[in-house]
Amino acid sequence: MNWIQNISSTLKTWVFKKKVLVFSSRFERDPQACFYCPEMCRFSCPVAENLRDNTVTPRGKMSLIHLLEKGNSLETITGTRENYLWVLEQCTGCGRCTEHCVYEIDVSARLRKQRELYFLEHQQLTSFEQPQVFAGAFTTKTFTESKCSKVECKSDQISGTVLLCEKSKKQWWLNKPNLLSELHVDFVEEVSLPSLDWSWGRVSKETVSQIKKVFSKCKKVWVESPETAWFLMNCGLDVRHVWQGLFRFIQKVDWDPDTTFHESYHLTRLMPNAGYSIPMYERGLMPFHRGVNVLDCGGEGFYKKAHPQNAKGIGERFLFDLTKDGRKLSKLVCQSHACIEHLKPLTQAQVSYWLDYV
């Protein structure tokens, strides 16, 4: 009987091995695949590299979606909607995780879709969080209906009117696109916001006029974040808001190999505390050593934050690093307002705005 048992056992094992092969050929991909993955793309993600937080690795972000798709409620997984959105937004759309993934899972596209779904689902939201009241140079009036704040900016250097709705800017923008005109908000000349979520910091009049000049050539302005949409709209522009990774969008453009796309907006905004390039500089490395062709100079705010005494110096170092190793910078493409002020005079390179490429 032993030999019968042995044959039966061998046969069962053979069948199981075949089953394993079949299993492995038909597994559902994103985001389930990411949930069971040992984070093979974490090192490629600039956000994870910068924040060192496991919830914002590509796996961390996709696992969140997987848990939702398994039927768990948002509250059970993340506690609050803000936490959920915060995780979904920690993506620059650079696509490096997709490049490094054996299954080529497009994490940024999936996150974008999830954000769209979220906003479609919550379009009817009417309540807003309590606005933050700013002290000091600002005087505040609260609009009870919308619970947004209209801030009169009055100081020696600041004049103008700013509309704020702290923490719920996104909901506000999406729910009430005509709110600005309804409230008769004036043209913004200068903004100073204490929020860390805000990357613009103090924007000079020259910059505003520069933005207007550049963007006025375009019929439509496509921007990724509602904050930017809001800002540009305040500059008097017709803005279309898209939930699309700008980097991915731009990277699809056929680039001159010598061209380096200079970015200082998106990463800067996402990583308000440390930036991406500056830790790299400190490590003596430039991001393109890692195959990154999207660079973050840090923008005005970061030059000042990292090297308050020598903001121009770090700009120079950026350009030096950019051009060493025989790399010639023939063109610098920028989607922000900062480099035109800092980098162009240093490099004499042609500076283009990304909109010229669209």
């Binding site: 299993f23 492995s24 984070e39 490629s44 936490n83």
Partner: protein, 472 residues
């Protein structure tokens, strides 16, 4: 940045700015990549997180301050790197009376110093393996540590588990690479072990702290040996009649002083499944380093295999294919684990040359012990070799017949560890012990386990550091 709500978070954020206490962060950090955790998450409902806070200290001083403070307040601390451990070493214990805090060391992620003359570097614990290797490569050096988890594991994790890389037969394991360690004791004092190529000044503290899996200290940085980037890399592939014959040949290579960087022997089952062989086994070898030495080693390996062992030489192709897909094995996990009732894990053991073949056979037979309860397939390859022996890397893939997959997983592990204990093999070669292999570890160590307990009581009188890991 995430906003925090708890008073504990606010208290700590006074001296460590990056802290988080939102539910998703707590849930993420309460577990590592122990497959049991993944199976549990797959088959069971979400439970509340056992931890209260995650903190990211930026430097050793802040960490020391935190540990001292935690001692005063009786807070439990879990050191955390990339969370890629597969034995549960960084999985938090169920909630008790004291607040539980995970301390993520990834903010400490720089090469602090590099000496190109002595070829040493001081590396901080939070660096991800691939980032460390790329940074060293950019300066013309390599660490030579290439675990298949290199993309997702941290340098501190290598220290904590006494890790080994795929090229370890040439470059050595992490304990061979370490010259000195820096860390924080459970009472908050900062310590440094002496930096020298070799010393005779009492017991070696660096080796004591290596592999302690976060129960004796936080390891924050280490001086390591680094190497110039290899000038040449040669690839060899062979077909061999059996696993035993392959082991005999490799033993001859290693004991005669040859040092290929990689030697991999796939056993009959794995050769059949991965390489499509009908009989025999596949052996791959890679040699790298200085050009002339590499050429000599590769030539000698090929000659001995031809003249003495009569293996079939297959050229470079298969070894090159392995090289370009050497980290892909980690992507297999989701293919199996995403299915209900399925289990997948790896088990790496080591023993001396004389016992390797029998250990291989006996462990493989464990698959037959579970015929009533489910299915289990055990594949194996041999991938790290020493003068006196080597390791066997078993891959377990199974399916539970009933709903209770976690119980099935536990039973399989109990049986495997029992078998290894009886054979006198080391129950872990490079993954560490964690919470998975604690019982066997306690049994195997006997009186020495009591010694470890006494050391733990002295070093960490309040047991605030990774409690119950390693059974301590």
């Amino acid at each position: 940045m995430k906003s925090v709500t708890s008073s504990l978070a606010k208290e700590i954020s006074n001296f460590i700015p990056q802290v988080a206490d939102d539910l998703y962060t707590l849930r993420t950090y309460s577990k590592d990549l122990w497959p049991r955790n993944l199976i549990q998450s797959r088959e069971e409902r979400l439970e509340s997180s056992p931890i209260d806070l995650v903190v990211w200290p930026e430097n050793i001083k802040k960490l020391s301050q935190l540990v001292k403070y935690a001692n005063e307040k009786n807070w439990i601390l879990y050191p955390y790197g990339a969370g890629s451990g597969v034995c549960g070493g960084a999985t938090a214990e169920p909630r008790g009376l004291s607040p539980q805090i995970v301390v993520d060391l990834k903010k400490m992620d720089k090469i602090e110093a590099l000496d190109p003359i002595s070829q040493t570097a001081k590396v901080q614990a939070g660096m991800i393996g691939q980032v460390l290797e790329e940074d060293l490569n950019a300066r013309g050096f390599t660490l030579g540590h290439f675990p298949s988890s290199i993309y997702c594991s941290s340098f501190g994790g290598y220290l904590a588990t006494r890790a080994a890389g795929q090229l370890s037969t040439y470059y050595g394991k992490i304990e061979d690479m370490i010259l000195a360690l820096e860390g924080v004791l459970p009472t908050g004092e900062i310590f440094n072990t002496p930096l020298a190529p070799r010393m005779s000044i009492g017991p070696d503290f660096s080796q004591f702290f290596l592999g302690s899996e976060g129960v004796f200290s936080f390891l924050t940085s280490a001086w390591v040996k680094i190497h110039r980037l290899p000038e040449q890399r040669s690839f060899l592939s062979f077909d061999v009649p059996s696993t035993e014959k392959a082991l005999e040949g490799v033993m001859h290579w290693i004991q005669s002083g040859l040092r290929p960087a990689v030697v991999r022997i796939y056993d009959e089952d794995e050769s059949r499944m991965l390489h499509g062989l009908k009989s025999g086994v596949r052996l791959l070898a890679i040699v790298e380093g200085e050009r002339r030495l590499t050429e000599f080693t590769a030539k000698t390996l090929a000659e001995t295999s031809r003249q003495y062992f009569r293996w079939v030489e297959l050229g470079e192709e298969y070894a090159q294919h392995w090289w370009s897909h050497r980290y892909d094995v980690s992507y297999m996990q989701q293919k199996i684990l995403s299915h209900r009732h399925m289990i997948l894990d790896t088990f790496e053991v080591s023993t001396t040359w004389d016992r390797l073949p029998s250990l291989h056979k006996i462990v493989k037979q464990v698959s037959k012990h579970f015929e009533g309860e489910g299915m289990l397939v055990i594949l194996a390859h041999f991938s790290h070799f020493y003068h006196c022996g080597g390791n066997i890397y078993f891959t377990l893939c199974g399916r539970s017949k009933e709903e209770k997959t976690v119980e099935f997983y536990d039973k399989v592990w109990d049986e495997l560890l029992n078998v290894c204990e009886k054979q006198g093999a080391a129950i872990s070669h490079h993954h560490g012990l964690g919470r998975l292999k604690v019982k066997s570890f306690m049994k195997q160590r006997g009186v020495l386990f009591d010694v470890l307990k006494k050391i733990k009581n002295e070093l960490d009188p309040k047991h605030i550091l990774n409690p119950k890991n390693l059974g301590l």
